[in-house]
């Protein structure tokens, strides 16, 4: 008989042993990460981040953030370790890693106004085919696929920022009834927020009453403010 249940770390394949206390020994389910990998994925403190954009250590609000700006929260800072994990998830296609984010993303969801639907930022059909899955869709439970993406956004380098935002809005369209709904968008990485803002505009036009967002990771400002 096997007395101690051991597991395998989802990231490094290291064997995981339960902690020595009785409570841990009685658990039948072990964490999916070893302690070293857990330490690498250090979440953003949700009590001290910017209440608008979720930037860490910016409570109550970054200098550049306005109360009416797009509101979102991120799980992790987009540092080198998180970058590696997300690259393996998204580009290598290690879809099983989505399990790492589901529970914490669910908790993050509760920190924002209640949502009637959790909507992943969509991938273009060709991109979905190439990658094999939508990385934003798998990190939450019961996603509602209420958005679709038309064309791969063309090379944008020459257009002005305003034109780029307009192009991006063109790319998304609503595929269901969102009238009167409070919506939380989901994406993997938050950088400038342009994608999520474009999705918000489209959803608001279609009748949604409020739109905010959650992301797995967000990039950090170069210099502390």
């Amino acid at each position: 008989m096997k007395l101690i249940v051991t597991g395998t770390c989802l990231l490094c394949s290291e064997t995981i042993y339960p902690a020595g206390d009785w409570y841990s020994l009685l658990q039948t389910k072990l964490p999916s990460l070893c302690s070293a990998c857990t330490a690498k994925l250090a979440p953003i403190s949700q009590t001290s981040c910017c209440t608008i954009c979720g930037h860490p250590d910016s409570k109550p609000r970054c200098a550049a953030c306005q109360p009416e700006d797009f509101m979102q929260r991120s799980l992790y800072p987009y540092n080198d370790d998180v970058k590696d994990v997300l690259a393996r998830y998204k580009y290598r296609g290690d879809a099983a890693l989505a399990a790492l984010f589901q529970l914490p993303m669910q908790r993050l969801l509760r920190r924002l106004p209640k949502a009637d639907a959790v909507v992943p930022v969509p991938l273009h059909a060709d991109r979905l085919f190439e990658r094999g899955f939508n990385q934003a869709e798998l990190v939450v439970r019961r996603p509602k696929l209420l958005l679709a993406r038309r064309t791969l956004s063309a090379k944008q380098s020459k257009s002005t920022p305003v034109e780029r935002e307009a192009n991006l809005r063109e790319a998304f369209h609503v595929t269901g009834n969102v009238t009167g709904m409070r919506i939380t968008l989901v994406d993997d990485i938050y950088t400038t927020g342009a994608t999520m803002r474009a999705c918000k505009d489209v959803l608001m036009q279609a009748g949604a009453v409020s739109v905010c967002g959650i992301t797995v990771a967000r990039s950090l400002r170069k210099s502390p403010m």
């Binding site: 290598r92 290690d94 879809a95 989505a98 979905l128 085919f129 190439e130 094999g132 899955f133 939508n134």
Partner: protein
């Protein structure tokens, strides 16, 4: 054009459609190239030139791992699907994809133009390998001590296989060995197409054509029934990972009736026993090409060296060793990364004027520091076992502090001792084991070295 490229890529390989698309698309949108290449592959399959197999059946057909369920529905097939995490680093395989294969490439006979000559012992080793090939053996061990000149011993075998218009593969667990080996092979066989394969190469480089392939053992997963001869160099380099995946990859890459040659200076217990019982044909080259004995390590008492180190002091015996060799370069091995800095500080303090630095696997300046040591700008290089093999420096003396640490296995210690006395100008290097209690691994290492010296006389 595309047809030719696809066929060239598949020669002797097993590739997924994704690998073909990324290697051959050249900037085209994925979906369009995918459709085009799929259509082409279907035609080639109908013509009997290409075969395909579902990439995941009960297990992954590439690496043998059990597949993982894909959460949600698959973006490719639109159904419930699974994928393999075992060989994810080689590009993702899903249950709805195929592995495509085609027969191995024909090679051109190419002469070896290496200008040197083999010693009598090297010649014996080389002949044994050619005999194993001619007699159609399935396995052969070449036990060649550090500094025996093993690469040159492979040349006659490579030449014989190329003469039969067949390709050869030399695989080794370590990428730096591939990078060192590839140019030497290319120089020895200028008329043959030599290609190196290891992680981090560009997609189009992964499908380069080859008569002689030099690759990391991982890359063997991309080859299928391709080689009548597969040479695995430094088969023991990862002592604890004689993993099933490697064995599987090797047996898939080699022809069904092909020969696998294991080349090593430190064969594992298992290989040695198989050789002893006659299950594995073996040839031993127990002497260096310059003819001198392998340096025999000497034991020196180091006492509680870790305690001394806390006070920035070194064992007296080690200080004496470093003083004795103050005009020569010394490689000083320590058990752990944490020991590097204290030892370096102590050396700097006790022997002013000695230029000393350290390296370990995670050291960002590793390459630069090793280069500085090669250029004789460093006198003492303190290192973890990462430099136990592959580094050849004329007239270097080697020392191991704390041989009682479990990381210093018999294999590691023989490799370390093998760093000394490599060049014919300075064939007698000093090898010193500083210990707080001899281990059986260390005693066995010394006994093995003595035996090889005795038996090759």
């Amino acid at each position: 054009m595309l047809k030719k490229d696809v066929l060239a890529a598949l020669c002797g390989r097993q590739l997924t459609i994704d690998e073909l698309v990324t290697a051959l698309a050249g900037g085209e949108p994925f979906r369009e190239s995918y459709d085009m290449i799929t259509q082409l592959l279907d035609t080639l399959e109908a013509e009997g030139i290409v075969t395909k197999e579902a990439a995941i059946q009960k297990t992954c057909r590439r690496c043998g791992e059990t597949p993982t369920m894909l959460p949600g529905t698959c973006g490719r097939c639109g159904k419930t699907c699974s994928y393999c995490r075992g060989c994810l680093m080689m590009g993702r395989i899903t249950a709805c994809t195929f592995l495509y294969r085609a027969s191995p490439p024909a090679a051109h006979p190419a002469a070896c133009t290496w200008g040197g000559s083999l010693s009598d012992l090297q010649q014996q080793g080389a002949d044994a390998l050619v005999t194993a090939y001619r007699k159609k053996r399935s396995r052969q061990l070449l036990w060649a001590v550090c500094g025996a000149g093993k690469t040159e011993m492979l040349f006659p075998l490579i030449e014989a296989v190329l003469a039969d218009q067949k390709p050869v593969m030399i695989a080794t667990p370590r990428r730096d060995v591939v990078q060192e080996l590839e140019p030497r092979i290319r120089a020895a066989f200028p008329e043959a197409t030599t290609a190196g394969f290891y992680g981090g190469k560009e997609p189009h480089e992964r499908i380069a054509s080859f008569n002689i392939a030099v690759a990391t053992t991982h890359q063997l997963l991309r080859f299928r029934d391709a080689f009548p001869v597969l040479i695995i160099d430094e088969v023991d380099a990862f002592p604890f990972s004689a993993d099933a995946a490697l064995i599987r990859a090797a047996s898939q890459a080699v022809d069904q009736n092909g020969l696998t040659v294991y080349v090593t200076a430190t064969p594992s217990r298992t290989l040695q026993q198989e050789a002893k019982r006659g299950k594995l044909p073996a040839v031993t080259v127990g002497r260096r090409y310059h003819g001198a004995d392998l340096p025999v390590p000497a034991f020196h008492w180091a006492g509680r060296w870790q305690k001394r180190l806390e006070k920035k002091r070194l064992p007296e015996t080690l200080v004496r060793f470093l003083r004795k060799h103050r005009d020569r370069q010394v490689l000083l091995f320590v058990p752990e990364t944490a020991d590097l800095e204290p030892v370096r500080e102590a050396v700097a303090k006790l022997l002013p004027g000695i230029r000393c630095t350290s390296v370990y696997s995670g050291e960002p300046l590793r390459a630069e520091r090793v280069k500085a040591f090669r250029n004789k700008q460093i006198d003492v290089l303190v290192t973890t076992t990462i430099l136990e093999r592959g580094i050849t420096i004329e007239n270097v003396q080697t020392a191991v502090l704390g041989i009682e640490a479990p990381i210093f296995t018999e294999t590691a210690l023989i490799q370390i001792a093998g760093r000394a006395g490599r060049s014919p100008r300075y064939p007698n290097g000093d090898v010193a084991f500083f210990h707080f209690g001899k281990t059986s691994a260390a005693v066995r290492a010394v006994a093995t070295i003595r035996r090889l010296n005795r038996e090759s006389r």
